[in-house]
């Protein structure tokens, strides 16, 4: 079973990126709009003052003794100097003939404008200029004369203004982007919050908690929550069924086997012929093996089930070992074997007490079984680096060195155990339990003396 989800992308990241993108586009748009508007305003204000200048020159045009003449007012050009230190050019024409000013200024006949003022942007003496041309009719003795006044100014001031505004607009755009980005990130976070809340509330639940999710969720998540609730209901049902099945199976197998064994023992007392007794003994042995195997299979099924849903609590390993030992003591004494526990108070570990007890009793059971009559089984609880170690020592034949690697595989039995009853699940169970707790199982033979040693390594909490 994979616990990792198949992750592709993230709603929050996608949402954040999209919002950032939108913010960037809007900031750029804002910059362009401010600049366009600023340019318009700058041009307009320059146009206005050029217009005023041209008008005042035009107003000074008059006919004197049959000739068109202009008396340029001082203010006409000095007003341009008041707002900027741009270069100023002007020209006065009468009926298309040059009268005074800068003769080679460009013409503005084709330019658009308002009323009789026409504006163009052009070049003169190596600089860009903005120019206005205004026209007025004077009447001469020989008929009307059209006087055209053009006033032009270089664009230095306008450029400087625009540069200044562009710097400010850039700051504005950047500030806008930052603000929008912060809001975007916050929005993305708040958008995925219900999902996170749901995920947290589901993953925080204990293994047995399969109630339906009741907390309110946004409408978009309702189908997911409904599906989840339905799924959990089905899971609960199937779990209940399999627990019932395990209990039922244990009962159905063990009880007849117990009856069968009793019957076989009764029969054994009655028969006297050695071959019949041998056959019955063989039968009792087989029944024991089946009963034990059934027990271990059920244990294993239980362990497999529980390791997926550990019920973690603080456990004092010494107390737990003592309890287990007391439970198995009658069995050991029946076989004339002594069980002893050594150890001091140690850091507690986090784990599922039922599982650890189950694993320990399986190992102890093995130890009792393989130890020769009259010998001892010793349990120690010690402390090694970050590990709390529970070791079981027997005085049996030990493990065959070539077996050690594969003994924990399911249904694998060591060479030295062929004449003893067993299913080969005990070590498997012990290993699965230690691994479920983040630890490991170590098998070794005792040095100096005969016997095997099985050590549970649990991480201390």
């Amino acid at each position: 079973m994979t616990l990792e989800a198949n992750i592709s992308g993230s709603i929050r990241r996608r949402l954040t990126l999209q919002l950032l993108g939108i913010a960037a586009v809007l900031a750029a748009l804002l910059f362009v709009m401010v600049m366009t508007y600023a340019k318009q305003v700058a041009e307009e204000s320059q146009d206005n003052i050029l217009s005023a200048s041209a008008t005042s020159i035009l107003d000074s045009a008059a006919i004197q003794s049959g000739e068109v003449t202009v008396d340029i007012p001082y203010s006409a050009l000095s007003m341009l100097g008041n707002v900027s230190d741009d270069r100023v050019f002007y020209r006065v024409m009468a009926d298309g003939k040059y009268l005074t000013g800068y003769e080679s200024l460009p013409d503005a006949y084709t330019a658009k404008g308002r009323e009789n003022h026409r504006f163009i942007t052009s070049h003169y003496l190596g600089e860009s200029i903005r120019m206005v041309s205004a026209t007025r009719r004077l009447s001469n003795a020989s008929g009307p004369v059209e006087v055209t006044v053009s006033v032009a100014q270089t664009l230095k001031r306008q450029r400087e203004t625009l540069e200044r505004i562009s710097t400010n607009a850039a700051y504005l755009g950047f500030g806008f982007f930052i603000a929008a980005a912060v809001l975007g990130v916050l929005t993305a976070q708040s958008a995925v919050r219900p999902v996170q809340t749901l995920a947290n509330s589901v993953s925080r639940r204990g293994p047995q908690d399969l109630r339906a999710v009741q907390a309110p969720v946004p409408g978009e998540m309702a189908p997911l929550v409904v599906a989840l609730n339905r799924f959990m209901a089905r899971l609960k049902k199937s779990l209940t069924r399999s627990e019932e099945f395990i209990a039922e199976a244990a009962h159905r197998i063990r009880t007849p086997l117990a009856v069968l064994r009793t019957q076989a023992e009764i029969a054994l007392r009655r028969v006297e012929r050695p071959e019949n007794r041998a056959a019955l003994k063989e039968m009792i042995r087989a029944i024991d093996e089946s009963s034990r195997a059934a027990g271990q299979l059920l244990d294993h099924a239980m362990v497999s089930f529980r390791t997926d849903h550990l019920e973690v609590k603080e456990i004092n390993l010494l107390e737990l070992a003592d309890e287990t030992l007391e439970r198995l003591r009658p069995l050991a004494e029946m076989q004339d074997k002594t069980l002893s526990l050594h150890g001091e108070e140690l850091p507690s570990i986090k784990g599922d007490a039922i599982l650890i007890q189950n694993a320990l009793s399986n190992i102890l059971d093995n130890a009792i079984k393989y130890a020769p009559q009259g010998e001892d089984v010793k349990i120690t609880v010690t402390h090694e680096d970050k590990w709390v170690v529970l070791s079981v020592y027997d005085q049996g034949p030990g493990f065959a060195p070539e077996d050690i690697e594969k003994l924990t595989e399911r249904f694998s039995r060591g060479k030295n155990a062929e004449d003893t009853v067993g299913s080969g699940l005990g070590l498997t169970i012990a290993e699965e339990v230690t691994q479920a707790h983040g630890g490991h199982l170590k098998l070794s033979n005792r040095t100096n003396v005969r016997g095997a040693c099985v050590s549970f390594y649990f991480p201390q909490s």
Partner: protein
Amino acid sequence: MRILLFPSVLIVLLVSLLSARAYEIEQHKVFPASQEAQTLRIISNSDIDIFAPMVEAFQRKYPSVSIDYTVVSSTELMKALYEERQVFDVAISSAMDLQVKLANDGFTKPHSSSVAGLMPDWARWRDHVFAFTQEPASVVYSKSAFEGLEVPTSRQNLISTLRNNPDRFLNKVGTYDIRQSGLGFLFATQDARTSDTFWRLNEVMGSLNAKLYCCSADMISDITTGDLAVAYNVLGSYASARAAKDPDVGILELEDFTTLMLRSAIIPAGAEQPEIAGDFIDHLITASWSEEGADYYPYPKLNHSEVAPNLSLRAIRLGPGLLVYQDNLKRQHFLQEWQNAIIQQ
């Protein structure tokens, strides 16, 4: 061969003379460098005597620059640069309108000065025109000629004094010939712009058969010799130098208004040493506008605020307004009107 050669040599000589000397030089002096390396060519309408301390102070800072100093009238300066495009590195003139016209019409190079911060904004135009003096247009008179008369304090007073004493002042009144002098033209146009009394004063001076001069120095000389009793619109800075030596010379700054001219420097577009020219202009700015001033600065102390402490002082503003009287039509009209007023025979 010889017959052919002679006229052609003559033509070459003539052409070179014409092209080199079409504008009229008044004075010329070379200030040699202690170790010769480069030459800075200055064209100016400031007299050598007055301006020399500024040049010498510059050469103390830049000993490897020799300075070729040409003095011309302000109109000749305009002619040299605007029409003949003579090569000079710095042009110094009191005719602000001509300096602005040169800058406006593209005859100057910009100079981004490192000491521009010392100057008020109104003392420069477009990084092209840099003013370094403020000089009043004054009335200079001979104290002895005014004996028994009250010294006039305004144009109004001056007009009535002249009008009431025609015998005393006939042929003894002098002013600029504004057809010749760019500075005279500038003063006259600014006067005309400010007050109508200018025209009445010209009428009176005309009726007294006013003498017309090219330059302030000549007017001041004629005051000291007694040829003139009073001279109108004389550069006060020149006059005070003379007044210090001659107790008979009096200087008046009229109370109705006194025009303040800013003498300015530009770098002509054809300058061959624009960098040294820039250094020279920075030197002028530092000498004139820095708070402590310079002991060799030969002009009246500058006033940093735009509004003078004395309200009658009117500083001429650098800017395109000055182009107005340089307009051909306007200039012709003005000169015509002026001639009608002052030349009455």
